[in-house]
């Protein structure tokens, strides 16, 4: 998130403002920050249960699923912030021998966006983790 905030503070919107000052971007970034806060609270609950010697149940799996989704949402917003530089192939741009093309955070974000997608959604890793949560429900009932 700190990375995202820096990127939004550096990038212009075509009207002379920084993206961090644009309501649409600020709203999206804040929504992601709230999701991150929620995950931190969830992680704290998991840790507390473990420290108390209790089984945290499906919470750690949920933490993993939601963390992967949040990570993807953050890189999506980074790529959106990159504008036209989100079009550049990340490997070629990262390796360009004349120095970087576009903002330094754009190419890694595009790479992460493409790599992270397949783990999400039905049939992905998050689906397997969802099944695990469902199995834990059955075990508990």
């Amino acid at each position: 998130m700190a990375h995202l905030r820096r990127a939004l503070a550096q990038t212009e919107d075509g009207q002379g403002r920084r993206l961090a000052e644009v309501a649409a971007f600020e709203g999206k970034a804040s929504a992601l920050a709230i999701r991150l806060l929620g995950l931190r609270a969830l992680a704290a609950r998991c840790a507390a249960e473990r420290l108390a010697g209790r089984d945290p149940g499906p919470l750690p799996v949920m933490l993993e699923v939601r963390s992967a989704e949040l990570q993807q949402a953050i890189v999506e917003l980074l790529v959106e912030a990159a504008g036209y530089y989100g079009l550049a192939a990340p490997d070629a741009v990262l390796l360009h021998n004349e120095g970087r093309i576009g903002p330094e955070w754009a190419a890694p974000a595009v790479r992460e966006l493409l790599d992270g997608l397949q783990g999400l959604g039905p049939t992905g890793a998050s689906d397997a983790q969802g099944r695990l949560i469902a199995a834990l429900f059955e075990k508990a009932s």
Binding site: G14, A24, G83, G86, L114, L117
Partner: protein
């Protein structure tokens, strides 16, 4: 309302569909993407011979006089084929500026070569700080000595590496973001003072950062009136939106159909995964998103066919918003329903997804066009 195509339009649709199916296999496309060549010279020649490069140009200029509906018909099929030949950059964008704003001498000099497949062109309109605002320009064209002196940096110029000619937007008067004072120039790519940094794009095309350092331009390189280039540029960009939007609709059709087929055959727990209700619902949603985008494609083509103005602009923005939303949903769903192989290089699914993702960015993303739609 009549959504049926004329005989000529249906013939154009059929001929491109047949070529894409028979002569443009995905494996061949991938060979070109991985090669040092930016596109297939053979396909480009064939496109020229089949007359496709001349469709939008007037008959007086050697073209076929096609309009928005012909563009829609063509690009939907090109989307299914996932072409990497630079029709968008050369014919729709740079060619579009010349078609709408070029004088006879400029058209005579370049359009026959474009239509014949002998010249490549690119539209250099975006700048690093400008995001999607066509008027945010730091590139300047200072009048003097019977011409102009061009200085500046253009970002992500599609087809820049192959272009023989660049159509460049630059500020000839006014402040950085003024709507007025923007002029368009036809610049030879090899002119003294022009330099490039080339790179591939995520979806297999090529682009360049183009730098102009004291490039001396003659007065006759000006396209249209000095300082009045902004409306012309906007119209060409809206025509580009219709083209890439229709291309996206073609991509989405392939993705939802291929995904349905895959889910019918891929088995898990002893049955095809398409039997699982959660996946069936996802595929139904993919279909509905595709059809919704297709409906707005027709709407945008018809509005633009009626004449370019606020209604056409509004329809173009509405279409771009829907394409952005639908393309994202259909693309992501297709990758996810194909599991780990969805993004592999060998399977076409990930490549369609990449193209859809890039189309969302081209000419302004969902947020940009929501705002524009609301302001028109």
């Amino acid at each position: 309302m009549d959504f049926s195509l004329s005989d000529e339009q249906a013939l154009l649709q059929e001929s491109i569909a047949r070529y894409m199916h028979d002569d443009y296999p995905f494996t061949e496309r991938q060979k070109v993407v991985k090669s040092a060549e930016p596109f297939s010279a053979e396909h480009w020649r064939n496109f020229a011979e089949l007359g496709w490069l001349g469709v939008p140009f007037a008959e007086a200029d050697g073209g076929f006089g096609g309009g928005p509906v012909e563009s829609m018909v063509m690009w939907e099929q090109f989307g299914k084929g996932l072409i990497i030949e630079p029709l968008l950059a050369t014919v729709v964008l740079a060619g579009g500026v010349l078609r709408l704003g070029g004088n006879k001498a400029q058209k005579d000099a370049l359009l026959p070569a474009i239509i014949g497949g002998d010249a490549q062109a690119a539209l250099a309109f975006a700048e690093p700080q400008g995001r999607y605002n066509l008027a945010d320009l730091t590139t300047t064209a200072v009048p003097g000595n019977g011409g102009y002196r061009l200085n500046g940096h253009k970002a992500v110029v599609l087809n820049g590496p192959a272009a023989d000619w660049l159509v460049v937007s630059a500020r000839s008067s006014g402040a950085q973001r003024d709507e007025a004072g923007i002029s368009l120039f036809l610049v030879p790519a090899g002119a003294s003072g022009v330099s490039r940094r080339d790179y591939p794009t995520v979806d297999g095309f090529t682009a360049s950062e183009v730098y102009f350092a004291d490039v001396e331009l003659r007065a006759e390189t000006l396209i249209g009136e000095e300082g009045a280039g902004r409306p012309l540029l906007e119209q060409v960009i809206d025509e580009g939106i219709l083209a890439v939007g229709a291309e996206a609709v073609g991509c989405m059709e392939v993705l939802y159909k291929d995904t349905v087929e895959y889910c019918k055959t891929r088995k898990q727990f002893g049955q095809p995964i398409g039997k699982f209700q959660v996946l069936q619902h996802r595929m139904v949603d993919m279909f509905m998103e595709y059809e919704q985008a297709k409906s707005l494609m027709y709407m945008a083509a018809m509005r633009m066919d009626e004449g370019y103005g606020p209604q056409a602009q509004k329809a173009a923005s509405a279409f771009k918003v829907q394409v952005g939303k639908s393309g994202r949903f259909v693309g992501q769903s297709a990758v996810q329903l194909h599991g780990g192989m969805g993004m592999t290089d060998e399977l076409n699914i990930g490549h369609y997804f990449k193209r859809l993702t890039m189309i969302d960015t081209l000419f302004g993303n969902v947020d940009h066009h929501l705002k524009r739609f609301g302001s028109l």
